[in-house]
Amino acid sequence: MGIYMDNAATTMQKPDCVIDAVVNAMRHMGNSGRGAHEASLDASRLIYETREMLSELFNLGDPRQVAFTLNSTEALNTAILGLFDPGDHIISTVMEHNSVLRPLYRLEEKGCQVSFVPCDEKGRLRTDLLESFLKENTKALVCTHASNLTGNANDLMYLGRFCKDHGLLFVVDASQTAGVLPIDMQAMNIDVVCFTGHKGLYGPQGTGGICVRPGITVRPLKSGGSGIHTYLKEHPHEMPTALEAGTLNGHGVAGLHAALGFLKETGTDTIHKKEIGLMRRFLDGIKDIPGLKLYGDFSTDQRAAVVALNLGTYDSSEVSDELSFEYGISTRPGAHCAPLMHQSMGTVDQGMVRFSFSWFNTEEEIDAAVKALKELAE
């Protein structure tokens, strides 16, 4: 196996307990909420316990407010399309991934207004400008916790206070930070957290969710089988069923359950420290490469372990391909589904080569990546 450094796309290497849990579930798990036999009840119990673990992780305060989705994209579509009405104004940022931007553009087509807060030259959000974006009809701030491109993290405590002061809903995209950086929905005044299971949580792909603060109503994206109230024409309104139509990915959630156990046992802080240590070693190794262009703010450890760079004027795709083909190192080139961020950084044509590290990377792998980049820059 080569060296995997595309963990911002998905943490490919998973704890063994996650793989074992999925296999075990595929052998024994029934369909949650469909019948009252033991195989179904066991599925429901495990899924409920996973809601409890997620509610605790994000300090949501009620496990029944955690609805499972396929990924962050589905969660974000649910939140963004389910919270607003024509005439509403929403503030977002240029740091967003297309999973936020495209649902927002759909809202624009339906008569909503959207504004994007810019970043500075290091990709840091211009929070000093936030107030200038407020309008009478502003309803919410929809914002990523950390950029999938630069790894820069936003200060959720500050943004949550801003939302509270101005009576705005606060919707957070935690795709890059769930399991990585602390998220406290109550302390940070967050109304909705959207997360994926297959990145920093080390769970399987096809898992994710939406955490909704009690008292907030999100219109469902889908309707269908719910296991309850079969003869009603409408999908049930009670959470989490309201946002879960059809059979859940129980096998995936079983893996996510194991992953959350792994995170708790290992400690998210311990994992983050290791990832940031690897990132610092990498930065230290490459800093003197001639023509190196680094993007992002590395002055703090409160960020994702992501390093986006370019070598001179080389096309990022060429560099990433060389790294893959010649050295067996997996990175992500191009635009990373973050068009406004690339526009902001002036890298639309060149793209960026993104390295992203995980708990399973080693110092030896970092050193190999540094050596490869040095050779490519010669």
Binding site: S32, G33, R34, G35, A36, L41, S44, R45, I47, Y48, R51, P63, R64, G227, I228, H229, T230, Y231, L232, P236, E238, M239, P240, T241
Partner: protein
Amino acid sequence: MRQKEWKLIITFHTTSDAIAFEKACKETGRSGRMIPVPRELSAGCGLAWCTVPADRADMETFLKECSIECEDMAELLY
């Protein structure tokens, strides 16, 4: 088929509520088990908690303690 007996049946708004209540009952040593919702209570599907009628007062109090709102509570031959 087994002989039917009077039971106290509690139904819930969601599967999560039902499972949360089952967990709380087990953790506190309360008797009972999950059953499919009897058709006398709902023509749909779903889960119900089944226990003895003598538990009614305790169940009502315990549901409040757990912040779980039941949909229905009825005594049936089951």
